[in-house]
């Protein structure tokens, strides 16, 4: 049976990650059609519950759902009962009572998708929880890399920047290593999590030492407020040590892939030229996001007959 929820990459394991990447091929084909819409999820109702602003991720999910003919509803947190003091659980029970098949949730607090999955019957898809997980981002990044490299076994990927506060880093490390790649995280000590026990990745403070051996450089968004928190002395120093500058870009191999989850801080973690370089796959990442999310929605919602129903229709 396919999974009911998509909460974290580790829940999926290599087999389901590969199954989703395989399914993504089919949905990429659908997306390329003249009329990129299939009736696969007709009658399914999906609710967006975004407690954190994310136009990009929400639009990507919304496009995916519409291409699958699902109905969608947006629970707009800013103008809703949440502002009237309603608890998270009551909000979820309310949405659930309207009859939804899936809730796609983004929240600033780690673990919220797990809590919701315990409270309601619908499928829960984690669209980002705090610093914790962002599984669909990791899946679309994995898909983008497999498009370029085929299997990721033995490939070396450097994830550079604010690992500590990054759900993208946590999910991507899990996904890339599950698919057989080797991951090195590159950051000043203050932007690494306090412990890397069980992380299955290497650590470096020296981007220049890592770059010559990488097949892909994954740059994380550098939040401007980290400077205020004394995590880095200045953005200028951060850029000079950990940014993909024009100078580093010149030394980068011709086949090395440049990735970024967006939105980019041009001139901070990535230079203007690096962002627009031919080796950058930033726009492919966005395009693949829709296909991957179609695959995820279909896997969770289109493919879950219970055993009894199957017997009846045989």
């Amino acid at each position: 049976m396919s999974p009911k929820h998509l909460l974290s990459i580790n829940d999926l394991g290599r087999d389901w990650i590969e199954e989703i990447l395989r399914l993504t091929e089919s949905f990429a084909e659908v997306s390329a059609r003249q009329i990129p819409k299939v009736p696969a999820l007709r009658g399914k109702n999906i609710a967006w519950l975004f407690y954190e602003d994310s136009t990009r991720t929400r639009l990507s999910f919304e496009t995916a759902a519409k291409r699958l003919s699902a109905d969608t509803m947006n629970f707009s947190v800013s103008s809703s009962s949440v502002n009237k003091g309603e608890s998270l659980r009551d909000t979820c029970l309310t949405i659930s009572a309207m009859g939804v098949d899936a809730i796609v949730v983004r929240h600033k607090s780690a673990g919220v998708p797990w809590q919701i999955a315990n409270w309601i019957d619908a499928s829960v898809i984690n669209a980002g929880d705090g610093w914790h997980q962002h599984p669909t981002q990791a899946l679309l990044d994995s898909y983008t890399l497999t498009q370029k490299f085929g299997a990721l076994d033995g490939r070396h990927i450097a994830i550079v920047g604010d690992i500590k506060h990054s759900r993208v880093a946590r999910s991507n490390i899990e996904a890339f290593t599950a698919l057989g790649a080797e991951v090195t995280v590159v950051a000043p000590q203050t932007l690494l999590p306090p412990s890397l026990e069980g992380w299955n990745c290497k650590v470096s403070h020296d981007l220049d030492a890592v770059l010559p051996t990488t097949d892909a450089v994954y740059l994380l968004r550098m939040q401007l407020e980290r400077q205020k928190d004394a995590l880095v002395p200045s953005l200028r120093e951060y850029t000079s040590r950990y940014g993909l500058t024009d100078e580093r870009l010149k030394r980068l191999g011709s086949e090395v892939v440049i990735m970024h989850p967006g939105p980019m801080n041009r001139g901070v973690e990535i230079s203007q030229a690096a962002a627009d370089d031919a080796r950058s796959v930033v726009t492919q990442q966005v395009a693949n996001g829709v296909s991957v999310r179609m695959a995820v929605l279909f896997l969770l919602l289109g493919h879950n007959p219970d055993e009894e129903t199957i017997e009846e229709t045989l």
């Binding site: 659980r89 607090s109 780690a110 705090g130 026990e197």
Partner: protein, 439 residues
């Protein structure tokens, strides 16, 4: 203290108190005092007899750290329901923490709590805040409060951050004897340095890193323990460390005691039974302050209980309504209930002889709370009849919903444990009989 007009014979148990262990029956008089203690040959008889076969008969337990939520949050707990849970857990005295609404920082509020406690199923021993409003700005009227009976001052829920203010509070506390009839008072510290703990929701380490939850480093506790030990040394005031959770803090207290400083410490049941790994479920029942720590910290707390570095087992019973806990992990209030599970967890998890364990739950905390005259004393004729009768070998499965507490935020749901309170005698009254509260 209440009494009955009947005498009660506790028959067939093994008496364990600070004087040792012996087979004895205990006759509780109608006046609320122990009338006689003797073996089978003494042939004691009471108006009624309660069975203590296979049980330990010990001085009633004393919890140095209970949140009773009254006044202010009666939906989560009241003095009555909390004391009923306490009695079922074998406690005959609960030290009520001052973080109520309004806080217990003035004579008026403390007097209310004392008044409400008069009909409770245990003694309710009020603590009071060190600073007004527990805000860490100015001292609460310590002498007035001491005169009212307060022996423990604490801003629990938060530590006193300001170094100078804390030092002044300790200095001031040294001169309380005229207002207490000669007894000393202790300042109990919730050790968390705010600049390290603000915005954190669990222990900082392997699990916080993996779960992406901002973590509180052990130093948040260690630093304040270190500071207050220095103040205990310079002021000579009594400092009590609440809910020690880190290996570093245990080591600091051990060294301070070796030096002969007037410090004492407690550990909660959850800090010697649970680790930060529990937070991986994102179940907010595991959110608590100080946070559940790593395996090595749990081992250090256990070692501290074993070697006497830690004087008392406390519950930090912190009831919360379900709807308050049903929030994101970072937004949910910290705390877990513990009155009805403390004995069983200590018996199950600690490799301690029962005499030592009873000391950690009874006479040692009674001394720290300044109530040794009524609680924790030897089971002997003429002493107040505050007695716990428990079967150390009965196994049972924890079910938070079955507890007398109004809240059920118990982190041990479904755990199989050993040791159950059978009867509790409070001031001569059998408040728990055969594992049921009598009122």
């Amino acid at each position: 203290m209440s009494s009955t007009n009947q005498t009660t014979l506790i028959r067939g148990g093994t008496v364990v108190d600070a004087t040792g262990t012996r087979r004895a029956d205990v006759l509780v008089g109608a006046d609320g005092l122990i009338e006689a203690v003797g073996d089978e040959n003494a042939d004691l008889r009471g108006d009624r007899t309660i069975d203590a076969g296979d049980c330990v008969v010990s001085p009633g337990f004393v919890d140095l750290h209970t949140h009773l939520r009254e006044p202010g949050k009666e939906e989560a707990e009241t003095i009555e329901t909390g004391s009923r849970g306490g009695a079922l857990g074998g406690f005959t005295a609960l030290v009520a923490m001052p973080n109520t609404t309004p806080p217990m920082d003035s004579v008026g509020v403390v007097r209310d709590v004392i008044e409400l406690g008069k009909t409770a199923l245990t003694d309710i021993i009020p603590s009071a805040a060190i600073t007004v409003g527990r805000a860490g700005q100015e001292l609460a009227p310590m002498a007035e409060l001491a005169e009212l009976g307060v022996r423990i001052f604490t801003d629990d829920g938060t530590g006193v951050q300001d170094d100078l203010l804390m030092k002044r509070a300790l200095e001031y506390s040294v001169g309380m004897a005229p207002f207490t009839g000669g007894a000393s008072v202790a300042l109990a510290q919730h050790c968390e340095v705010n600049s390290l703990s603000a915005g954190t929701f669990m222990h900082e380490g392997e699990w916080s890193s993996r779960l992406g939850i901002p973590g509180q480093p052990s130093e948040a506790e260690d630093l304040m323990v270190m500071r207050d030990i220095a103040f205990a040394r310079s002021t000579g005031a009594r400092v009590h460390f609440q809910h020690l959770s880190t290996a570093g803090a245990v080591a600091l207290v051990r060294a301070a005691k070796a030096e002969g400083l007037p410090v004492s410490a407690e550990a909660t049941t959850h800090h010697f039974t649970l680790t930060d790994a529990a937070c991986a479920s994102f179940d907010t029942v595991f959110k608590v302050h100080p946070p559940l720590r790593a395996d090595s910290d749990v081992a250090a707390v256990k070692a501290g209980l074993l070697d006497g570095t830690i004087d008392a087992i406390a519950t930090d019973h912190a009831p919360h309504c379900a709807h308050d806990k049903e929030q994101p992990f970072d937004a949910a209030p910290p705390g877990m209930i513990g009155l009805e599970t403390a004995l069983a967890l200590a018996l199950t998890e600690l490799d301690l002889p029962v005499e030592k364990l009873v000391g950690l739950m009874s006479w040692r905390p009674a001394e720290i709370a300044g109530i040794a005259d009524t609680h924790g004393g030897p089971i002997a004729a003429g002493r107040p009849a505050n007695i716990t009768v428990f079967d150390p070998n009965e196994t049972w499965t924890i079910d938070g919903a079955s507890f007398a507490s109004k809240s059920s935020n118990c982190p041990y749901e479904g755990h199989e444990v050993r040791g159950k309170v059978r009867h509790t005698i409070f001031g001569g009254e059998t408040v728990v009989l055969d594992q049921e509260a009598t009122r």
